[in-house]
Symmetry: C2
Subunit: 352 residues, 2 copies
């Protein structure tokens, strides 16, 4: 506490991101980064942009990137909002679309940044329990609500909702904004982007951090009806005119231009995930079905915190959450084939 | 208006940044960018960082950059906050330190983003008139206040406050946070950074956009007592864990490492500014004394809006604000010697 702090800052409970260890030679499977580097075209575009024009402000509207994204999804530029990672995009969405007298709804087990945003902006919220199998029960959202936000696939469970369920949710809540956070959607989950033209209350958020291998560049975006996007722009232009630097804009455009690389790497991650799922199951783990680039697994006879520590001693980092209902699970990001094999070998040793 | 917007977003009046024209061959003297490119060491550092590790998140705490900045100013790492441009740093400061029951005070003529932040966060504010010569009268701030923010030098006037006046302001307001926004300080204004250890209520904000020629990279920072910085960190970690991408961190570190280049380019800008001041005065302009990389000038016989348009016809862009008291001024960023010479020639033609 500090005497100059505002009341807001006193009550915050900041988000704690996954560890970014400074030790070398670790197998890092804790923050859902892509095991493959970004496209060579992305690196070339960034290098080309590292020139004297960095003295100039970027385009505050990042039009070139918005046009690229709009064209990719068959939408208009007015349907696209871009930001400094999807976390910034989500933050603006909370303030622009989700702060209403009725509570915001989201699952009891979900991305742990959501309640943090709510405290930042003074948004009332209620959590809706997942089913026992950790799936989302759409009918349980039939209660007074000022907005709804859901990741699909959900984090940290990895479980995906079928598109028909997303549609059922949208149909039941046409009077409030519904945000579908699709950070991990490219790893085998059906996207709701195709519903944007149909539902003026639907905002879909994406990131380049996962499936485009660009966590280090900080680019995210949202797709939705032009009215929703305008609300986000109003908040953004009241916060920071230039959230995306010149290098990020150039790199992100190039990432969308190399579709072949995107397809190749995301399919490789999906294949590794399915193989890891099989290997973990063979070791006695219960593995939730995953539509993401990670798996969420528990071992009926072994304590998750102890397993995490034992892996760490073998220089393998995975994520463990101490929250209720999930404290016996490990969230394991999909690494390269070699990294996944090293994980399985280590677990075989630990389990005896 | 959109039916899904929150009450907050309905009442916003977003900031309008200076135009970033997409036409080539313009002499762009409207957004206070540096006429010189960034240090070659910065470009080399960015190019080196454009590698496969972009798949990994950056250090959320940007420790390497914080250590570099702390060492540069003889402070500790806990005295440094970094963000995605000083606009983001300021936004967080408004919410963390300047939202109190008593109104925030700032000059009637100042950076026009301040009232925008206030509306974003619901902060009451009062403006304090500058003197007729556009200088800041410290004694006029002796009124009930929840916080004070002032740019030094002020924008868009360019007028600097002497350090003794800043100290007098701090002495008179030890019970509230005082933010000195030093975006332009390196062009000949005395910095308050040396007072940080003495005043636990002082926050100083800087940017790499101006004197380090990196508007396109989006890096700003704040220096202050560790308690104030912790307040900013709490807000930042409730908004976006990773505001600085890997390339921005690497480039910003390199900018501080090439001190010789920084000195050379800022002295060149100062020399050009003083020469432009003389030339404008010879053309009949009244030029306010500037401690920045721009001048603020009016011509007693010519309408400022008309002058701006006439310059634009000659492909020279300067900034004109329609606000009361300053609507007969032009704000002219300092260009290269050739750009300043072209401006003077154009004005000679226009004035006949």
């Amino acid at each position: 506490m500090n005497r100059y702090w505002t009341d807001v800052v006193r009550t915050l409970q900041p988000y704690v991101p996954g560890e970014q260890p400074k030790i070398d030679n670790l197998i890092k499977l804790n923050t859902n980064e892509n095991p493959y580097p970004p496209s060579p075209q992305v690196l070339a575009a960034i290098t080309a942009e590292a020139n004297g024009l960095l003295r100039r402000y970027p385009d505050p509207n990042a039009e070139r990137l918005k046009r690229t994204i709009a064209a990719h999804f068959g939408l208009e530029i007015g349907n696209v909002f871009v930001g400094n990672g999807s976390d910034e995009v989500l933050a603006h969405a909370f303030l622009a679309l989700l702060k209403h007298p009725a509570p915001l709804l989201f699952p009891d087990i979900t991305y742990s940044f959501y309640p943090v945003y709510c405290r930042l902006y003074g948004i009332e919220f209620e959590t809706v329990p997942l089913r026992d199998d950790f799936s989302i029960a759409v009918d349980d959202y039939a209660r007074p609500a000022g907005g709804i936000i859901l990741p699909n696939p959900n984090a940290p469970t990895g479980r995906a909702m079928a598109l028909g369920e997303v549609r059922r949710l949208l149909d039941a809540h046409r009077d409030i904004a519904v945000v579908i956070d699709e950070a991990y959607v490219d790893f085998g989950t059906d996207s709701a982007v195709g519903l944007v033209r149909e539902y003026p209350n639907l905002l879909v958020t994406h990131t380049l951090s996962k499936s485009r291998s660009l966590a280090g560049l900080r680019v995210g975006y949202a797709l939705g009806d032009a009215g929703l996007i305008e609300g986000l722009e109003r908040v953004k232009n009241s916060f920071n005119s230039y959230p995306l630097d010149r290098l990020a804009i150039a790199g992100a455009v190039a990432a969308f231009e190399d579709q072949a690389y995107f397809e190749q790497t995301r399919q490789a991650v999906i294949a590794s995930r399915d193989a890891l799922d099989d290997a973990l199951t063979a070791l006695g783990f219960e593995v939730l079905p995953s539509g993401a680039n990670f798996v969420f697994a528990r071992h009926p006879q072994r304590d998750a915190a102890a397993l995490q520590l034992a892996l760490r001693e073998r220089k393998i980092i995975v994520r463990h959450f101490t929250a209720p209902r999930i404290d016996q699970f490990l969230r394991i990001s999909i690494g390269t084939e070699a990294e996944c094999a090293a994980l399985v070998t280590a677990l075989q040793e630990i389990l005896g």
